[in-house]
């Protein structure tokens, strides 16, 4: 197991290197320049701009800049934000917990919805419950998060006035501080979680439906086990194996959705950091944030592989 993990982590290194090369090249080739705004500033003569560019190595060939970035990265230097004049890693570390909290809670919410609903629907296929669950799931994953997000804001913030519609600085202290944080996180979590939950419900349902017909389920019933035990022990456990893969494959989409949602609710997470960095041509920050996303996706795939091996003994950790 430990050996397997170590091997998988080593395999992840070339993937990350490849991703970073592609990202870096694309960003370097993209038009735009972090010092563009200086061009319109009459107080900054063109020579100063040129020397700034030279100082930050922007005139070097791409491979030299990449090697420079890589070496710095390996030493823990994530670069310097041109726009906010702060180290990139500080920026990211400030915002990463918020994003992870929202995405993590949304995933938990999705699982809490998808597992029971999907399993129950599959044990009673084509029943009223199943039909309703299917329809809602279909609606759920057909509606984009930017639409449901605005809808939620309209209903819960503007009409009902229950929840704050964007993130703002929390001034309260003690328990109130936590409460305010939870209150402003509720809508984004619900939007992302319901969207995820909808597609997950369909995965769970179809996977359980596939399993429930198998011979070993009849064997389990022939043992005299209660129907609930049969479903939980001999159907759901087996049905989780393909679901884990699908959920892992969805992680990039989840992060993509989170970027949009963060924008709508003004969540100070790394998604909105990425967008503002793109708007400001802040290449080091764009590079660092996309790289963090890449690492997270690889990490979740690794977790999925470990789970996969744990759920299915036919897969050996070799």
């Amino acid at each position: 197991m430990a050996h397997y993990l170590a091997r998988r982590l080593i395999i992840a290194i070339p993937s990350l290197l490849g991703i970073s090369i592609v990202l870096f090249t694309v960003l370097a080739l993209a038009p735009g320049d972090p010092f563009e705004e200086l061009a319109s500033n009459p107080a900054v003569p063109p020579e100063v701009r040129a020397s700034l560019r030279a100082q930050f190595g922007l005139d070097d060939p791409i491979y030299a800049r990449y090697l420079h970035w890589l070496l710095a990265m390996l030493q823990g230097d994530w670069g310097f934000s041109f726009a906010s004049r702060v180290n990139t890693d500080t920026l990211i570390l400030q915002r990463l917990p918020t994003t992870l909290f929202v995405i993590g809670s949304a995933q938990v919410l999705a699982l809490i919805i998808a597992l029971p609903v999907g399993v129950y629907a599959a044990t009673r296929p084509y029943s009223v419950f199943d039909q309703i669950a299917n329809t809602l799931a279909f609606v759920g994953f057909s509606l984009p998060t930017f639409f449901t997000g605005l809808l939620f804001i309209l209903v819960f913030s503007i009409y009902l006035d229950w929840l704050p519609f964007v993130y703002s600085d929390v001034t309260a202290t003690g328990w109130r501080w936590y409460w305010e944080h939870i209150r402003q996180a509720l809508m984004p979590i619900a939007v992302l979680g319901l969207f995820q939950g909808a597609s997950m419900t369909r995965y769970v349902r179809s996977s359980v439906l596939d399993m429930i017909r198998l011979d070993h389920v009849t064997t389990a019933r022939s043992k005299g086990l209660a129907e609930g035990t049969v479903v939980v022990k001999h159907v759901v456990r087996n049905a989780m194996i393909p679901v884990v893969t699908l959920v892992a494959l969805q992680m990039p989409i989840v992060f993509g959705g989170a970027i949009v949602t963060e924008q709508i609710f003004r969540i100070p997470g790394i998604g909105s950091l990425l967008i503002s960095a793109i708007l400001a041509n802040d290449t080091p920050v764009i590079m660092a944030v996309t790289f963090v996303f890449a690492c997270l996706v690889i990490l979740f795939n690794l977790i999925a592989d470990v789970l996969y091996g744990w759920l299915d003994p036919r897969i050996a950790y070799r």
Binding site: D215, H216, T218, S222, K223, G224, E227, D312, R314
Partner: protein, 323 residues
């Protein structure tokens, strides 16, 4: 007279499909005494498996449904029994071994856990004790290294070994009746012989009755005392095994026996192996009359009018044929 364990009376199990009602089992009478081995023979699709699954009420409902008949287990009718009552009978009183050993075990649990699961459920043993019993059962069915093998997963066993595991699981609560639903069909010939031998050995060890479902006449000849021949959802003939092979009365039984390759006569006379012409009729709204009539070489006008009832033609020998 021996104690009657199971008595099936006029059992009808039908399946609702998009095309109509499929009468998979359409009036089956069958009985099994304590300690007896009864062979149930017939072609694929004649209702043998559905009969077996009906006894344990393992038919998927819907689409399946037991429409009529009684299943008397030691005098008590199982048909109206609730799910909870039925669960106490499954594995504890009546156990079943399925045809497909490759898919009948859950791939994600060790065989030990799967056997122990039954023992814990019905005997109320703890985890450790149940696992010890599971290992003991693996030893009983002649699996080498049982103490180590209990911790193995099904994919680490061959087909024949998995069928041994299934038998060990079925016998672990010492049921009074073991239903073996084509236990050797999916296995190759040498393994088939081993599994049949094992079943016979288990029978003498545990003294349970066996309902052996098969389409192979040869298997029945070797193991059963009494044979029930099924055709298209009905019993067409029932007789002690010797009598059935010596003097089969129903043309279908005669056809089945003639279709067994025989090394003694075939090699000498070079006779052609006879097959029964045609296929099993659709059980979707079958016509009145004897269901075998369309394939029967002796069929006459009267055969098409009404399904002949089972009638006694000798001691313990019943046949549903007007001839």
């Amino acid at each position: 007279m021996a104690e009657r364990l199971l008595e099936i009376k006029g059992l009808k199990t039908h399946f609702a499909t998009d095309d109509g009602m499929v009468r998979s089992v359409d009036g089956v009478d069958l009985s099994i005494d304590r300690g007896e081995t009864v062979g149930v023979v017939g072609e694929s699709g004649c209702g043998k498996t559905v009969t077996a699954l009906s006894v344990l009420k393992l038919i998927a409902m819907p689409p399946g449904r037991i429409v009529a008949g009684q299943i008397l287990w030691q005098g008590r009718d199982l048909v109206p029994l609730g799910a909870d009552e039925m669960r106490k009978i499954r594995a504890k009183e009546i156990a079943i071994v399925f045809q497909e050993p490759m898919t009948s075990l859950n791939p994600v649990y060790t065989v030990g856990d799967q056997i122990a699961e039954v023992i814990r459920l019905h005997e109320g043993l703890g985890r450790k004790a149940a696992l010890d019993r599971a290992a003991e059962m693996l030893r009983v069915v002649n699996i080498p290294n049982p103490q180590r093998r209990v911790h193995d997963y099904p994919h680490q066993f061959s087909g024949g070994m998995r069928q041994r595991v299934m038998i060990a699981m079925a016998l672990s609560c010492k049921p009074k009746l073991l239903i073996a639903d084509e236990p050797t069909t999916a296995l190759d010939v040498t393994i088939q012989a081993q599994i049949l031998e094992l079943l016979a050995e288990m029978k003498s060890t545990f003294g349970m009755a066996v309902m052996l479902i098969t389409h192979a006449m040869g298997v029945v000849a070797e193991t059963a005392q009494r044979v029930v021949v099924m055709y298209a959802g009905k019993v067409v003939e029932e007789a002690p095994v010797g009598e059935l092979f010596r003097a089969p009365r129903h043309p279908y039984t005669q056809g089945l026996i003639r279709s067994i390759p025989r090394i003694d006569t075939a090699s000498v006379k070079k006779t052609r192996l006879e097959a029964i012409a045609g296929v099993v009729p659709s059980l979707l709204d079958p016509p009145a009359g004897c269901r075998f009539a369309p394939r029967c070489r002796h069929a006459r006008a009267a055969c098409l009018e009404a399904m002949p009832a089972l009638r006694e033609v000798g001691p313990g020998h019943k046949v549903a044929c007007i001839l």
